[in-house]
């Protein structure tokens, strides 16, 4: 593949997928600047590997894995100043007019989850990946995916039973 062809193909992929990658990165990291940084690194690594990551079906998975790993790496390097997970329910949810602040409250709870649990939640409920796909992306077993997802939901229920208990509100 020539350089020009590679760049054209890569540009086409980037144009098609960048907004979606940015959204996933935002959900993983919790802020816009970090999300852009994650996407830039993930796409740069993809660019360097473009000739070898031939099966286009697997490109999204490859990029997701980089996003998650980079996010964990960033967090490990700078956890003290960027974020601290907590077992406490936030004092209040960020209000919005979408659903009387309910989604914002849930989002705050998701942000408080440990990194791996949060990654599982994002990949499961936002990316709609199967347990096997999540396991492949995160490099863990499907059993671990199940247990992490279960713990994450349990933690969310414990922290906000009023909003996350089935049947409490009519939908």
């Amino acid at each position: 593949m020539s350089d020009r062809t590679r760049d054209a193909e890569f540009s086409a992929y980037m144009a098609a997928r960048q907004p979606a990658l940015l959204r996933t990165a935002y959900l993983l990291s919790g802020d816009r600047a970090t999300a852009e940084d994650l996407v830039q690194t993930a796409l740069a690594k993809l660019y360097l590997s473009w000739d070898k990551v031939h099966t286009r079906d697997s490109v999204d998975g490859y990029v997701r894995r980089i996003l998650v790993n980079e996010n964990n790496s960033l967090w490990r390097r700078a956890w003290k100043r960027t974020e601290v997970t907590t077992e406490l329910v936030p004092d209040h949810a960020v209000p919005d007019d979408y659903d009387d602040g309910r989604s914002a409250a849930v989002w705050e709870l998701v942000k408080s989850l440990p990194r791996k649990q949060r990654a599982v939640v994002v990949l499961r409920y936002y990316e709609q990946l199967s347990e096997a796909e999540i396991a492949h992306t995160l490099g863990i077993s499907t059993g671990t995916v199940k247990s992490q997802a279960s713990r994450a939901l349990a933690a969310l229920r414990d922290r906000a039973p009023a909003t996350l208990t089935p049947g409490e509100e009519e939908r």
């Binding site: 593949m1 020539s2 350089d3 020009r4 062809t5 590679r6 760049d7 054209a8 193909e9 890569f10 540009s11 086409a12 980037m14 144009a15 960048q18 907004p19 940015l22 959204r23 935002y26 959900l27 816009r32 852009e36 996407v39 830039q40 690194t41 796409l43 740069a44 690594k45 660019y47 360097l48 590997s49 000739d51 070898k52 990551v53 031939h54 099966t55 286009r56 919005d96 979408y98 659903d99 309910r102 989604s103 914002a104 409250a105 849930v106 989002w107 998701v110 939640v121 994002v122 409920y125 936002y126 939901l153 969310l156 909003t163 996350l164 208990t165 089935p166 049947g167 409490e168 939908r171």
Partner: protein, 417 residues
Amino acid sequence: MNGPEYDVDRALRHQVEHLNDAPLTLDDIRGRATGIRRRRRIAAGVSAAAVVAIVAPLGFVLADRAPESLPPADRPSPTLLTPSPSPTTGETPSAPTTPVVYDIDTTPPAEGTTGAEIGLPYWFDGQVSLPAGETLTSKDRVYDVVRDPDTGHLLGFTFAQGEYQLEEFGPDGTVLSSAPATSNRIAVAPDGATYAYVTQVGGTWQLVEKGAHSGTWDLGATTPEQGTGATGLLSDGSVVFETRVGRPMLASPDGSTRRIPGTFLTVVGSSAVTDRIAAQTSYNNDGTSCWAVIDTAGKSVAETCDHALGEFSPDGRYVYGFPSDSDGLGPTSVSILDATTLEPVATFAMPNGGFLATPLAWRGDTLVANAWHDSTWYVEFLGVDGVLQLRSSFPGPNNFDPPPFEFGAGPLAGPTG
């Protein structure tokens, strides 16, 4: 999805529904990629230091350029050309018994001198030049060029506005017809008498073979994946091709097609002399990859995780390879490998900061390469016997730009087909 899951799903989507922009450009990505590569190389250098300390007494053999008689230039160059020996073609020299590493010389050539003939069809500065002296004007970059044996017209692949096209050129360079293609990949026999490609004919995608062997294989109406196409020919006229990456296929003269057994990420070439195929077998998380030369049954003949393979030499004895962790910014060295063992016969390394543009082209058992270093593009001939020849150089301040030359597979069949 039950209550809590529904809440989480809705909350996540609500948080990012406003994020629909694409703030990063290709230059942003390439800039970050350059930094990543630099850090990787520094890390690799630290690791290699201990190894070098052990093997240093063996040293590297550095080749000198040996000016000899000067063949005429096939076309004036806009800048500089240098005296150089004729590239090695035809007869195969004896391969060195010990693999050696040659530094690629990028000393600016003397002004006003002329260089060796390229000896392949090539596109340069809006013009296709053929070995016999024919030329063709094309503003768009033309990749491989072949001659239709039925009409005598030239066919060439172009890439513009994100689309591949197979174009048929009239004698005056007029585009007579144009058809969609999935890549610029074309398979050409060593003598140029047979070639194969994938294109769309009347709404149906077809694998087309023309020349000494001929045939068409219907591939259906579904557009094959971009980047796939014909990758090689075999001695009986069979064609190695991919319409979906990772699924190498064989089209046989009897009209049938079959999948080559085995798990391969892609195939990059085949030899019509030895009936061997170069294929990627794995991609590793550390950025390296493993490759193999296989037979038509998918059985491995030789394997390597040191080199990412390219195409076979016309006689099938050699295959070129880059370091297996070469990245999208361009490999910094290339090796000519023994195709039966995948052991390096000669390795050519760019100066620090330089890289080679891919793919390279074979002329006999000499590689023809676009090489970039220090804001300059060079055309280099890299011989299996270690002979290095610098043909010409061109200003190239931005290494993101494509190289000045596009070399086609050759040789080209004559005007009579």
